[in-house]
Amino acid sequence: MVHWSAQEKQLIANIWGKLSVEECGAEALARLLIVYPWTQRFFDNFGNLSSPTAILGNPRVRAHGKKVLTSFGEAIKNLDNLKGTYSRLSELHCDKLHVDPENFRLLGDVLLIVLATHLTKDFTPACQATWQKLVGAVAHALARQYH
């Protein structure tokens, strides 16, 4: 189980409070598909992904990005039980979606860059360290049920 200090929990809550889940989620997923185009393999039925502009404007990308980040919010509410929180989703990503867990790491890194562009200097080194730990812990929980 991951241990979170009071300061880390505070940094997580502060940053989360400043985010638009819809906007940041959409942007994070779009950037994943743009910066790492092979990740598009999981979204064949999403329609037009032919250019960065198309991806950024794609309503299915936006909706799915929002869904993903909303789920992230659940992690934040349950920092002391990430394994339990993500158990079902982990099975889903393994058994039905067949997603290589490496992709969770990529999305985590991209999310942090989205936070950095929005928060600029408020995204301090301490914030980044806490959030890198968070995305790492979520990625780990999502890979937990793989077999």
């Binding site: 942007e27 779009a30 950037r31 743009i34 910066v35 960065p52 991806i55 950024l56 890194d109 942090l112 860059i113 950095a116 562009t117 929005h118 928060l119 600029t120 200097k121 995204f123 080194p125 301490a126 980044q128 360290a129 890198q132 730990k133």
Partner: protein, 143 residues
Amino acid sequence: MLTCEDKKLIQQIWGKLCGAEEEVGAEALWRMFQSYPATKTYFPHFDMTPGSEQIHCHGKKVVVALGNGIKNIDNLSQALAELSNLHAYNLRVDPTHFSLQFLAQCLQVVLATRLGKEFTPEVHAAMDKYMSAVASVLAEKYR
């Protein structure tokens, strides 16, 4: 593979750092040490306190080298040949989980905090590709 458009974007963005190389490099290193503590194992001789002179100097060195790579982006292998030797034979930074990827992430976070919306998805993609290319070149001679 870096396209012409990628190269243009990289050169543009790098141009905006003019004069701030030391700061950007130092901050990227500092963030890397905070977010990925294992990277500190390569610097046991460093003063790791905030504002450390060593981190500043080394950060500047790294960013200047990256800048040199960008100036010679069509011949990266040759431009970074010496650094490639250094990393392979002396420094031997783990190339599989190439710790460079942690530096790449932190450098991009620093660029993103400084440039905000200007660090567009297209710029992000181009920089990520460039850092990947640099890591490849640096790992070329490992074995």
